[in-house]
Symmetry: C2
Subunit: 224 residues, 2 copies
């Protein structure tokens, strides 16, 4: 990839990056259905956004469709891959092989060529040494060693809340480049480590808020 192309992609809006991942997910499904082309309004419908938004995103990544057939699904998938995926692939580890950790491995395993969960870590002797979908669970004590040997760059944290801070530190010390924290305890990382945090309760409470608002609106109308 040329330097200029990369510089362009680097400046893609964060929201666009997220949507590209979602487009690809949708496109892969469409491809399975033997569809060859897709219109911006079709993608938009699937993603609950506007067709302009889709076209804008594709414009930003420099991909052009054909005027009457829309976008070539196969091509578009490849263009998106060129942007999001890393040539050599990126390895991921899950720390905390409990319910959520195992669920994630089950879900993610084999879904993406260039992004693989290659190791799990736990402190529970019963879990250490076990295999989940081909992923070995290592002793968390050996984290640094395994992360460096296996060239792991991203860590997903799914340990009990109380262990969150210590785990984040361990990952950082092991030289991890990115962390995805699924515990409800926010962590601090040096600025050279990219961090995303997600708490299901936030999303659930958001849904609850808008449901509540809708209810109150209806009550009000009913009173009149």
């Amino acid at each position: 990839m040329s330097k200029n192309a990369r510089d362009t992609f680097k400046q893609l809006p964060h929201k666009t990056i997220e949507r590209l991942s979602q487009y690809r997910r949708a496109l892969l499904i469409c491809l399975n259905n033997n569809k060859e082309h897709i219109f911006s309004h079709e993608i938009a419908k699937i993603q609950h956004i506007t067709p302009v938004q889709v076209r804008r995103d594709l414009m930003l990544i420099g991909y052009s469709g054909t005027l009457r057939r829309g976008y070539n699904i196969r091509e578009l998938i490849d263009v998106i891959a060129e942007i999001i995926d890393s040539d050599q692939g990126i390895n991921v580890a899950i720390v905390g092989m409990g319910n959520l950790g195992r669920a994630m491995i089950n879900y993610f395993s084999g879904k993406r060529h260039k992004l693989s969960i290659v190791a799990g870590f736990d402190t529970n002797p019963d879990k250490i040494g076990q295999l989940v979908k081909g992923v070995t669970c290592y002793d968390a004590l050996n984290m640094k060693e395994v992360i460096q040997n296996e060239n792991i760059e991203i860590g997903i944290i799914t340990v009990p809340v109380i262990q969150t801070t210590a785990t984040a530190k361990q990952l950082v010390d092991a030289g991890i480049k990115g962390i995805l924290n699924y515990t409800p305890k926010p962590v601090e990382v040096p600025e050279n480590v990219y961090l995303e945090e997600y708490d299901m309760i936030t999303t659930l409470e958001k849904v609850a808020f808008y449901v509540k608002m809708e209810n109150e609106l209806k009550d009000e109308l009913a009173k009149k």
Copy 2:
């Protein structure tokens, strides 16, 4: 709550709603640590945002701190609750009591007064009738009945991808008001149903993208 106050809250930015939920989560932890007051910059640090952002959000909800002690944690929690929570409480059901469904129940159970998971649904006879953290798993065939009897307003979808569309339809038919879809298959709902979708792969790919970018930047510098 007065009509005007409600009208104000209704127009809170979506992002603010999300952050309020996160602030409360952080505040509850602080409260446990016997802290009474907190500054905007302290909240900001925990949430990885700027202090102005925090103050702006609190301004929008009309809560004022004291000039030299910051915000009263207890009070602020209550004010946030007044906005996000529903007086009577809201009941939630999980459809699909597999790994992820059970993990969510384990995680969420008892965490919030006004938001409770009160039922699970599955089609697997082995799961039907079981209890997870006090939550009964019902036969998905009885969904409409249970949802109406138990006054359930929100449904969380954690069924296998292939069942997603059918499940969403079932929930809508049962009169659900909000849906949180954790499967990677986007669903369509009528516009009176509030929908949130979340896919872990999107978040993971976002982390991977920025890690990749950082790597390429470093390679470039090294070459020189």
